[in-house]
Symmetry: D2
């Protein structure tokens, strides 16, 4: 199996976290899957991902004090493997696990993903549970010094221990049997509690990779949370399909602005099967499970900026919105085929320039004439954003046009066309907004 | 209660760790106490301290793999308070705790100390045990993100939570009832697993201090492990009696050499009731519990260096040796009254100078004429070590003698006397050795 | 000479920087000295300090671009020693240096101080000037890798080089001949450009100390800029009289608030001859040389807070105001004898408690009954600030009064008297303000 | 101009530093060029690079004290541009500069390179020299706070200042006129003196890149010293051709061992025109200018290891040896065409695995069947080094052969051929040595 063939282009899908936090249930997952199948599938959206603590009883019930209730009851089998909480996922009862839900989603022509925390449940270690396929027990494979800084459920697994690999193998065998297509593993991309070794779970990434290979199913491996460590780029590229390049991303302008720095940093690391991940898209309705249901705080211009950057950079696209509540405008943002085309495997996006008030990115498909240029305005007011034509073409290694040659610039969000000539590509861009041009010789 | 009156001079005693690791038992403690009462008490030695995991079953039984067996059985009462393991401390059975042993030690005219890990047992949290004197339970007061990097027994206690203070109050009430005189609390002086906040348990120090005040017994509070954080000196000074200024100290020359840096750093922080702690003295027979029983690796000269530094700096003196096996020479090192006198409350030791090959310290008793000077030779061969007379006297704010005045220098370890005149105090010192002079005008 | 006897209490004086930046001239210095002699001397204020670049031609003339003009003309003698620029200090002409000005100030019964940058002028090194009293030349003693991050005038001096000490000796001989009483040496307390070795000029501190001893004049040595390194406290204490515990302090509330953290850190390091320094008092008229003459931005309450903290902590007091423009109210702030008394050598101030909204400090004179308590309100609105009576008395090691004993609390800024009884000392304090009580048993 | 076409494969050449330090002269450069033309040119070796301080009088004359004599005489034109010291480069007299030497080297069919320090001479700034093509002067464009930590000659140039770009333009115009083909710019890849901003000269890299584009000559830009910052990989890739991924590399096994870590880190950053640089090859005779002429300390096995790693990683190859003294064996190491072929533009080398005792790298040419595998033995004794066949093929995205298919393995240094079958590729490798196999299906 070649993990770089599990996802030929950046995965596109939906994730339950931004709207539901820890609380999503089966019915809600299905409703979102139904919506995707009906409205988004045809544009390439395909993953339905159930995020954190689907195994926890009472998840979200003490939200004012704890996002994750310490030492609370978790649904678990006799081998220390977490199972869906049947109170929220009724079809999982009687050991069925996520298989019925996965079947439902597959029936819609979509793919099914789940979130996991790295490691083994603390309760399994305390109770000395057996590990399936190993003579070692949970207390032996659990590393009592390896915890997550923000979630109390698990211990990390020890390195170079047969039982550790066996535990992950047992997990993936179960997930493959359920029909899982995508795993978002958390507390593994950056184990930030350990400041001097933020990559302390590198061996667990390798074990997960091996367990996927052994399970025989092409399961995409997505690593969280960020920021991923640039000095480990080669390791992510070798063992995983996606890795978060930022801590949790939300609908705040400063975070979006900061993403330009992160994309600059990772721009030369986007290849087939290897996707630096800008995190979920906080669009539409959000925050219900957090006790503050709201529409995204981003302005429309900021939303255009986000989608333009994610697409030209070729980040995975994971929608955070409650899909059944999507409005027309937001839906149009997610279904612009000309823009989504930049996610294609033969495109490579690069930053042309960036400073405190603007950025310019360019992209091109190998062997094609057309050049794509995105102009971003970071100012709090409308401004003209310009860049040397030469620099755009050079950035994507395209032949620079003669300065007196006319260029046709088509803006891909609005369809507006403008002519351009001379040494500068420029346009007026709204506050915090973006324009994305397809440029051709006239 | 004024904690600065609990120990008017640096505590002197014995600690079970260097010889027994986690395995010491009642009989062994008594044998050491008997020896101290017979041979050392008269020189000021008085504390008998039982170090780590006196509550653990099977402690030391998997020594090749684990110093502390993860998730193993701990003796614990119904309020999550750890009790002496009755297999090793028979007199503790039936809820007697350490009281019988403390009584025995008090009967010898000595004092009794115990080691604790900060926090509450992980098992108590997992099992939702009640906290005595509080409506909160262990799972509520335990902080699942606050662990020790090297011992798996406990969780730290949450800040600003009534039940956390109640738990420590319940501990100290029990210890006071047992007759404990000294607590060495571990994983608290430097919580080094948290690199960006190595003082993450500051609130637990304050809670322990309050619990001691409430318990009504003058219990010395000793904090481990080091290195203590110099920027928190004021906080240690406010709430504790001793704090380790080094990570575990053993019988290696590099560690001893390094201690000169540490004493330099802390020299102006030694005051009544406040003692920066250079850690146990690895003298005599050591290491049995570690599976490598041996005599100290220090040469005799290095042992003299260590004792000279600890005494002139006024560190607590905690003997790591198995006392019943002490030889005559080592015993003489521990019972030199002229040297031990420098530990007195009116002395203040300061570094005069230090470089890669030597150091000089000086001390003086307020109001007295005699000046003490320690010459240390860091070279691997015998060398003459010299220092300007003027600098020694200035360092202890004493009036500098005339250069042509004769000085009488008495070496306190050997009793040798030499005359000196002129601007330099100097003597030939053996490799890694020290000379400690009492200097008076002739 | 014992440097700890050069200043028996924290120095009090005036510094030209806050008002004049680099531009102060002889006439202006004299005008300020005259004012001090007439209005402040009787309260203990005595130092007149000429701050940075008194040797530079054209200082301040390119203020929009450079605070210190790179590679500009400096007045210098044939041994690379900087001299007062005669355009601004006419009496310094013909080699008189600062002697005439120092004489004038001494004639008023005051003391005279100057600012210097550590090291030797870059121009002296480039031109291979001789060093007085040494066969080495400036290019040999200058360390081309040791510069100041913010001032381009000097190179640091090499370690362990005879000519380096000779250069400092030649400086101090000159200054002693001029009659200098106080040196504020800059770029030496924290050489922050060298992040991994912010104490890279430790040897220059030692050389300055030696040069002062050799020159035979009791010249106070003040080190800048901060923040001083707490792990070098012992070194400052051994070689200097004052050291800045903060970067430049200005009239901004956040900086004042931050000083409470700094005083907490350094509280146990204030002893005779050793003064952690909170920096100049930005009161009255400020900023003229910076091109923005203004009155202090501090509210009156904030000014009271500052004076209370500086005095109870026992920081040196260096006035930044243009003294001839002082108003009555500000003058009263500087001449409150009851408050200034806390600067006395037998007082020791300590923090009792501090959090995000308030702080309490206490002080006491050895052997006296009266206890001083300062209550600080960090809120943006008036609030009641309270503290346990017991904690205040314990902090200064005073016997705690009976809870039913009546206490008389006299507020030292207003003279108001209130009675208190019971376990709490408390008072309503204005936003960002302070109250300073002298508390006695009724 | 597209800088990625300046060097289609990693540059190969000779550098004067390892043998001559700062002292190389014209005759010596020519002798080395003659040798290269006669013996190495045909294998792709082509650059002759004159390293540091070709402009300094007396370079090397105080080698016991200074590698670079501070404030010494530098040959410089009226615009502050450094010129070859005519005492060592006689043909440079009368303003001819390096043109005659470059002509000579070009005449041999080779290319000519020089070393520069970033910035402008300190002497030019102190003397306010004009900048060619600008109204600004050296004192205005020099940044007095931007120095090199180990060489005292220069100041960095200010950012966003017209005269700074003009100065670099004037340099490159001169170098282009001389016929320079390669610039090794120092103190720019990692300005390590500034620990918090080790990329403080990023703007100078951009200015040099622009100046090269303006000068119209395809001058390769090589950046030193390392370690290059992995988080700036995108920036090096955009503006430079080579960047040092290590601090100075010498003939010590620990440094060679460490290079495996560095190559692991940078393996996915080797593309046409972009070459992470492992530094010079310390082979043959070395160290004369350092006062310790010697043959390389590397064993023959270590030399094979070095060459194998440099080639499979595709580092530039810059020979440090005095070429006229090369022995047969070393020459054979440099002229193995089968090994050097791995430097070709269609090869990509990757690490397959690495631990404390061994490493395996693999490479393959796009579209070809043959797979290359390098087995490295880090042990101090001969050992068998093995790797899963599957892992080697997967690492270079080649189809994994059937386990029962026979493979023919040809070792490229010795020509030995071995058959292999099954799941493991393995061979006995000498201590610190390497074997490099070309593997084909039988």
């Amino acid at each position: 199996m070649d993990k770089n063939r599990f996802a030929m282009t950046p995965p596109m899908g939906w994730n339950s976290y931004d709207y539901y936090d820890t609380t999503v249930n089966e019915e809600q997952v299905k409703a979102n899957a139904d919506y995707m199948a009906a409205h988004l599938k045809q544009y390439g959206w395909e993953y339905i991902v159930v995020d954190i603590q689907w195994y926890a009883y009472g998840a979200g019930s003490m939200r004012d004090k704890h996002q994750y209730i310490p030492f609370s009851k978790l649904e678990m089998d006799e081998y220390g493997r977490l199972l869906p909480c049947p109170e929220r996922f009724p079809s999982a009862a009687d050991g069925a696990g996520f298989k019925p839900l996965a079947d439902y989603i597959h029936g819609l022509g979509l793919k099914f993903g789940i979130h996991i925390m790295r490691g083994i449940p603390r309760a399994a270690a305390q109770n000395h549970l057996p590990v399936l396929g190993s003579s070692q027990t949970a207390d032996e494979v659990a590393n009592p010094s390896s915890i997550c800084g923000w979630n109390p459920d698990m211990y990390g697994l020890r390195k170079d221990m047969e039982g550790s690999q066996a535990y992950y193998d047992s997990l993936l065998a179960l997930y493959a049997q359920w029909g899982v297509d995508y795993i978002k593993c958390d507390d593994i991309c950056n184990t930030s509690i350990y400041r001097e070794n933020q990559y302390s779970a590198a061996h667990e990434i390798e074990m997960l990779h091996k367990a996927i290979e052994k399970c025989g199913r092409s399961i995409v491996l997505s690593l969280s949370p960020g920021p991923a460590l640039i000095e480990k780029a080669w390791h992510y590229e070798k063992y995983a399909n996606m890795w978060r390049i930022t801590d949790d991303f939300w609908d705040k302008w400063e975070l979006l602005l900061n993403m330009f720095y992160r994309c600059e940093l990772w721009q030369n690391h986007v290849t087939q099967g290897c996707y630096p991940d800008c995190d979920m898209l906080p669009l539409g309705w959000l925050g219900k499970g957090f006790g503050e249901e709201r529409q995204t705080n981003f302005t429309k211009e900021e939303q255009v900026t986000m989608m333009t950057l994610w697409c030209i950079f070729r980040s995975p696209l994971m929608l955070g919105a409650e899909m059944p509540k999507l409005d027309e405008w937001t839906l149009s943002l997610l279904t612009n085929e000309r823009v989504l085309a930049l996610m294609g495997s033969e495109y490579h996006g690069v930053q042309v320039e960036r400073d405190g008030v603007h950025a310019v990115w360019a992209s091109r498909k190998n062997g094609e004439d057309a050049v794509y240029a995105a102009l971003f305005n970071f100012n709090d007011e409308e401004k003209e954003v310009g860049v040397k034509t030469e620099d755009v073409y050079a950035a994507v290694s395209a032949e620079v046009p003669d300065l007196d040659q006319e260029l046709v610039m088509e803006e891909l969000w609005t369809g507006e066309v403008q002519q351009s000539r001379g040494s500068v590509i420029s346009s007026v861009v709204k506050a915090h907004g973006a324009k994305l041009f397809c440029i051709r010789r006239a």
